[in-house]
């Protein structure tokens, strides 16, 4: 068997096979296109996990570079969105396993981020109510387990249950359970 750099005989992205003669530039273009489409949700998901903008940004780029390498090596990717989120998730989890150098998005940072956004409503009472509610939600979010939080974050980024299950390498029924629990916790906090 030939050793050396991998070069796929055929490159598939979904059901589409890239033209063998143009695949270098075509693949680059395709990955750039995917980067444009998914960079923001992936970045936001990573930012939620890592709590550090620079790391999240760096990792987002890393995810799409991995996508390029994987496609280049001939691995078929059927669902690019689920794939990039899975790689992002795994990279973030590995990153967090390193010695504690990563700062989680702590309460103060979260609050600062919330404060940076101006409230469109001018009514102070409404605003107070909303802020109180938001406090409760944030409090509830602290009670979520990491898996529940991951499921909610991924769902918030528009992934369906199957994709979430794929990203987190768990069963769909488990995704349902995590989401159910997470939503219950939030509902309990805001309704009590």
């Amino acid at each position: 068997m030939r050793s050396g750099p991998k070069q796929a005989l055929a490159i598939f992205l979904g059901s589409q096979e890239l033209h063998p003669e143009r695949r270098g530039t075509e693949l680059e273009g395709k990955v750039s296109e995917l980067f444009l489409s998914f960079k923001l949700p992936v970045y936001r998901y990573l930012l939620g996990l890592l709590g550090n903008r620079d790391d999240a940004e760096e990792m987002t780029q890393e995810v799409f570079l991995s996508l390029y390498s994987t496609l280049q090596s001939g691995t078929r990717i059927d669902n690019a969105r689920a794939w990039v989120f899975r790689v992002a998730h795994n990279l973030a989890v590995n990153h967090q396993k390193r010695p504690r150098i990563v700062e989680a998005l702590d309460e103060a940072e979260w609050w600062r981020l919330c404060q940076e956004r101006s409230d469109p409503a001018g009514d102070s009472e409404q605003r107070l109510l909303r802020e109180e509610k938001r406090t409760r939600v944030i409090k509830a979010m602290e009670c979520l387990s990491p898996q529940e939080r991951h499921c909610l974050d991924l769902r918030a980024e528009g992934l369906c249950f199957r994709e979430i299950a794929d990203v987190l390498s768990i069963r769909i029924s488990t995704v349902e359970t995590f989401l159910d629990r997470g939503i219950r916790k939030i509902a309990k906090e805001i309704n009590d």
Partner: protein, 662 residues
């Protein structure tokens, strides 16, 4: 349909999980229609559904509030494209190499020569593209060595140099408030001595507390306890003498066995370009060891401006963000030789900090505060608050004292006479000795005399005339002036601008000292007369700043307008609304920061050797920053009038006849 089936269907309610699936559009073709039909007639289940959707909406709102708008930085796309291109190049090169090893193997029947030609073309194109579009690659070592060189050049320009730095430090610990403090350091590089003072920041960022959102911590004075912890961390990592310097960072970096490093180009808050070295220790480190450090160096002059340190913790995280607020290299003589022996003498910030909270009865505390205001006011009247090293401090018994160093015996006598009417207040003022004065005089050309700096712009014997000088020559040539009068006018113009900037610098510092020393709580306790005194001092500085900066703006705008990027100069950044947020203190600190920024820009343009490329940027930045100072000053004035308005009390203007330039 049997009776049982009919009964079961009639009394069937979807479970919470069914509702969750339905709400998420996951019910499938079987479950979704039946749940939808059921919800139409079942209030109880509708309520459950609303509960779920309500929780989802609340989660989304809270999440969006935190993350929305948090997009990738502007250059992220470009950097990614560049990385992708490089990876593609690499893959292509490897592919060609593998083909060369085994030339008989042509997978897709592409002629080898053609593939090579295409690859070469692609490599060349990529190199050209990289040359013109990407950030030039630079190593951390190179950045650090440049920063070290720049620092030693700055230090070397002054005789008997003392590096004075004011650092704003923010500490973040998992689940706790971010806390801030100012760290002020003096480093005598000649005699290898150093001194450090701390003071908790006046305005601390809003935090999240257990009782709810929106609480803003009141300012506190005195040494924050965690500063000792920071000192411990710095000491453990051998950075304690010099918390923010390239050499200290390089030292820490060199001790790591397996550092993981990256360099990114970033923009500072003021728009300056910077390079950030992020170094992470991959090995396990003991307690208090720095596991990750980010070192930010301003590109313009390779000066370190920010450092973020993450410290190893068994659980959670702890990090410190150290931001430089001011940096200057001064001659030891100008500080007084006793600075390192008598820590309280010339410390402009910290002298009030250590003993303020010493126990004093409430009444005597107010009395002491009033006395302090009166002493401040007297210093203000004597003009000693503008650049003279005379301060009102709290002595061992927590009572106010006047201490300092002045340049002549006459001045000492004058000030001593002024404070004679405060019996019981110790006045310890020293005159600089003859030897120290000689040192001062020797250094006056390098650090103390702006006029000399400015005049150097017009010196004909300059081997390398600065771009600013060329611009001024061209500008004055356009004016209707006789040829022989142009040069003196140009020198006068430069001297005047630098002198105004120097004056603004001094008023900025005086304002800052007031803002740091007296907070809302203090002012509430004071008598109307003391409040009026305080207000008159603050107002004097604010008015002087308005006048000086306004004059500076008038002078510079016609000269720099042609040089500055017109679009940037016109479009002032809307950094924050002029008069809404913050209290008087934070507003004053804001004024101080904008004054320092403008001062730095003026010095870099008129007294530095600004490169042509930066000349345009600096001019634009200056034309933007001057109106901002005026705006900030107005905002501070308005906050001050609201904060300490005393009905029926006339405002005493202590310095109404004082010249803005000392």
């Amino acid at each position: 349909m049997t009776k049982r089936t009919w009964w079961a269907r009639k009394h069937w309610h979807p479970s919470e999980r069914d509702l969750l699936l339905y709400v998420n559009g996951e019910g499938g073709s079987k479950l979704a229609p039946s749940v939808r039909d059921h919800l139409e007639g079942c209030w109880s289940c509708s309520m459950k559904r609303d509960r779920i959707t309500g929780a989802i909406s609340a989660f989304m709102r809270a999440r969006e509030a935190g993350l929305d708008g948090e997009g990738l930085s502007e250059g992220a796309g470009r950097r990614f494209e560049s990385k992708l291109r490089r990876r593609a190049e690499k893959a292509e090169r490897e592919h060609i190499a593998s083909k060369r090893e085994n030339p008989s193997r042509s997978r897709h029947g592409v002629p080898l020569q053609a593939a090579l030609a295409v690859s070469l073309f692609a490599v060349t194109a990529a190199l050209v593209w990289l040359r013109f579009s990407s950030v030039p690659s630079v190593s951390a070592r190179e950045i650090l060595s440049r920063a070290e060189r720049a620092e030693s050049m700055r230090i070397g320009a002054v005789n008997a140099p003392v590096v004075h730095q004011l650092l704003h430090v923010t500490r973040r610990v998992n689940g706790l408030y971010p806390e801030s403090a100012y760290l002020e350091t003096w480093r005598d590089t000649l005699n290898n001595r150093w001194k450090q003072e701390t003071k908790e920041a006046v305005a601390v960022a809003g935090g999240f507390n257990s009782k709810g959102l929106g609480s803003r911590r009141r300012s506190r004075e005195g040494d924050p306890r965690w500063v000792a912890e920071l000192e411990e961390v710095l000491k453990s990592n051998n950075m304690h003498q010099n918390p923010m310097s390239a050499s200290a960072f390089a030292g820490w970096r060199s001790r790591l066995k397996t550092p993981v490093e990256s360099i990114t180009e970033t923009l500072l808050e003021n728009g300056d370009k910077a390079l950030t070295i992020a170094t992470t220790a991959a090995e396990t480190l003991p307690k208090n060891a720095i596991t990750k450090a980010e070192f930010v160096v301003r590109r313009q002059d390779w000066h370190p401006v920010e450092q973020r340190l993450s410290v190893s913790e068994p659980v959670g995280f702890r990090s410190y963000e150290i931001r430089e607020t001011s940096f200057e290299v001064v001659a030891l003589g100008s500080l007084g030789a006793s600075i390192f022996e008598q820590p309280v003498l010339p410390a402009p910030l910290a002298l009030q900090s250590s003993s303020l909270d010493r126990p004093l009865a409430a009444e005597s505390q107010t009395d002491a505060l009033e006395l302090e205001i009166a002493l401040f006011h007297r210093l203000h009247q004597a003009g000693a608050c503008l650049g003279e090293e005379v301060r009102v401090v709290r002595g061992a018994s927590a009572k106010p004292e006047v201490r300092g160093i002045v340049e002549s015996l006459e001045r000492k006598q004058e000030l001593t006479r002024l404070f004679a009417e405060f019996p019981g207040v110790p006045v310890v003022i020293q005159a600089v000795s003859g030897e120290e004065k000689a040192v001062l005089a020797a250094n006056s050309g390098t650090s103390e005399a702006p006029a000399a700096d400015a005049a150097s712009i017009g010196t004909e014997g300059d081997s390398e005339p600065s771009p600013m000088k060329n611009h001024l020559v061209a500008h004055f040539a356009r004016l209707d002036l006789p040829a022989e009068a142009r040069r003196p006018r140009m020198v006068e113009f430069s001297n005047q601008v630098i002198s105004l900037s120097q004056s603004a610098h001094l008023h900025g510092w005086a304002l800052r000292r007031l803002a740091e020393r007296f907070n809302d709580v203090h002012l509430e306790k004071l008598s109307p007369q003391a409040v009026a005194r305080f207000r008159s001092m603050a107002n004097d500085h604010l008015r002087a700043l308005s006048s000086v900066v306004g004059r500076c703006d008038e002078m510079l705008r016609p000269v720099l307008a042609s040089l500055a990027n017109a679009e940037n100069a016109e479009n002032r950044p809307a950094e924050f609304p002029a008069t809404e947020a913050g209290n008087w203190q934070s507003r004053s600190m804001r004024v101080f920061e904008s004054v320092m920024k403008a001062d730095r820009l003026i010095h870099s343009l008129f007294a530095g050797t600004e490169a042509t490329a930066n000349l345009q940027e600096s001019s634009s930045a200056l034309l933007v920053s001057l109106p901002l100072v005026l705006e900030d000053t107005r905002a501070a004035e308005s906050k001050l009038s609201v904060l300490v308005s005393v009905p029926g009390q006339p405002v005493i203007s202590a310095q109404s006849n004082q010249q803005p330039t000392p």
